[in-house]
Amino acid sequence: MDASQAAAPAPGGLVSAGAGARFRQAAEYIAIPLFALAVSAVLFSLFLLALGHSPDEFFSLLWRGGFGTAFSWRNTLQRAAPLVLTALAVAIPARIGLTIIGGEGAVVLGGLAAAAIAIPLAGTVPTLVLLGCMAILAASVGAGWIGLAGYLRHARNVNETISSLLLAYIAIAILNFTVEGPLRDPGSLNKPSTPPIGRENMLAPVPGLEVPWALVAGIAIAIGLHLLMSRTIFGFAARVTGGNPRAARAQGLPVGRLIVLCTAIAGACAGLAGFFEVAAIHGNANAALAAGYGYTGILVAFLARHNPIAVVPVAILFGGIAAAGGLIQRRMGLPDATVLLLQATVFVVLLASETLYGRLRIFKARTPA
């Protein structure tokens, strides 16, 4: 495998090129993913036509359900918020050459930890203190969980892609065990959950804007991580390691520490996503925490080419697709896996489009004659 090949920083990312070449490169990074999206839409339309459904109706419902009304926008942003965080959990390790696909585990355990700490604290401390404790604990647990995959990669050469996904399955088992066993609220009959954190303690959307706090936090973290990866020595060292671990080691860079830190940052992001799910959506921890945000985040990160800033619009796009799922299901009688299949089609086409980089005439610098 060459995880670094897929995840490596853009060629020329370390060395600054001329303005013209840079512009052409930037154009390439926008044009090729857009082209891949268009190709996926065409392929999916053919698929729908073959099954006797109207692609026209499908995509107009997709638009209406995701972005057409104020209500659908609220729904979209609510789903986009955890996607920003889980995509960052893929994008940051990708910069150091690791392919982490188990963000779901950190989401689940982060949410569980947040709900667990709220049990003794709720009602005894002010809401802000409670939410602060929940967020810090969720981020720490997530950081430890994905950081473990990074540590095992460094210390024991364990493939991080497989180990992170195994850890996700284990995390879901821990969640199910805990909410049905030791932390079960006796009042939750048909849907085992932890005791509620209390309606008065739950996070409302940002007043006036109706934007979830989780999205605001996600955007702030994305900007922060972008600066960290592009403007600091830490980020530079991480990118060097991602490009060529052997060279980084020869240069005396603390490769192990960089790997563990990058994976811990990733886990903290995903853990926070779990915190927001508990604090703003569910009000407790239950099996619904494993809603697949961790997995969709993988796709978002790849489509954003592991750029923390680009993660935000892509997450909103996929939040919209997810939000429209219910409408499409009801109006067209398609199964709920339709959205999953559309996402997977985008994913496959997108990865195949990697082959186009550097091969299209229009994006090539003209060599002076």
Partner: protein, 307 residues
């Protein structure tokens, strides 16, 4: 019930369970082993397993013949394998990432077309009763074995022999160990890898058919939870040796059978943890094998699973 009788019950349930649970592991790991021997890693076999399970169930239900279902599962896997190989042969396309994408593609396709088949009951695969003469009902139950298990075991030993002793085995290993050598011999590396990935997909699809047509023996969206992925880890543990894949699959099967076996004697506490046993076992094995020189030497050189 006395302690010894309880222990015997658990033990017999585990033997039977290990044979049942190991079969999908065996098929997927053999498929992955063939693919990786040719120098490519296919992480998408989890998706292949799920799609195979759905295809098998659908065809078995529609035609009434479970063996046609097995064939359909193999073909579905074959198609995904061909997709993987074709996409990976494009320059700059990463096989691990394509595997992750095909994992969700296979699962998505299976859930999309499998929705109407969650309720109806398809005919199950027949089984062979080996323990009828013993006179112990529990042991007889444990020795009621599906023919696919025997096919898988035979295949493991055959593949081991074929890798070492046939022309095709040599071509496969050469594609996995040295692209340069293959090219020098005038062999198309992409062609060999296409065949290997397609064959790997076929075998994984059959593993899926076992899940939906024999044990657990129904189709639902929670049918496979990581077996396909664990099988990939299992190949590393088995050091790319099909015969060891068989032993490793039995071990994983026993771990997977632990939860249900304990449940059968009424131990339900920590049910989720016993069900998580295979994941924990896989992780521990990977940690143990991590710095193992033997595993590193056995790895096909063109493969970078463990850089």
């Amino acid at each position: 019930m006395s302690d010894i009788a309880t222990l015997a019950t658990v033990l017999f349930a585990m033997i039977g369970g290990a044979i049942r649970v190991s079969t999908p592991f065996l098929f997927v790991s053999l498929g992955e082993c063939v693919t990786e021997k040719a120098g490519r890693i296919n992480l998408g076999l989890e998706g292949t397993l799920v799609l195979g399970a759905m295809a098998a169930y659908m065809v078995a239900y529609e035609t009434g013949d479970p063996w046609l279902g097995v064939l359909a599962a193999g073909c579905a896997g074959l198609i995904l394998g061909v997709m993987h190989a074709t996409l990976c042969s494009l320059p700059r396309v990463n096989d691990v990432a394509i595997g992750i994408a095909l994992m969700s593609f296979g699962t998505g396709l299976a859930f999309f077309f499998g929705k109407p088949y969650i309720q109806p009951q398809a005919p199950r695969l027949p089984s062979v009763e080996l323990g009828g003469w013993i006179g112990n009902a529990q042991l007889a139950e444990a020795l009621t074995i599906n023919p696919l298990f025997f096919i898988g075991v035979a295949l493991a030993f055959f593949l081991r022999w074929a890798f070492d002793n046939t022309r095709y085995g040599l071509l496969l290993r050469m594609a996995g160990d040295s692209v340069a050598a293959s090219r020098a011999m005038g062999v198309s590396v992409d062609g060999v890898r296409l065949a290997a990935t397609a064959a790997g997909g076929f075998l994984s699809g059959i593993g899926g058919a076992f899940l939906s047509l024999y044990y657990p023996g129904s189709w639902n969206e929670a049918l496979s939870s990581g077996q396909g992925l664990m099988a990939v880890a299992l190949v590393i543990f088995a050091r790319w040796d099909p015969q060891r894949c068989f032993y490793a699959a039995m071990l994983f099967g026993a771990a997977g059978a632990l939860g249900p076996a304990l449940q059968s004697v009424g131990i339900v506490k920590g049910y989720y943890f016993f069900n998580a046993a295979p994941y924990i076992l896989t992780l521990l094995i990977m940690i143990g094998a991590g710095r193992d020189g033997k595993a590193a030497r056995a790895m096909p050189s063109e493969l970078g699973v463990q850089r």
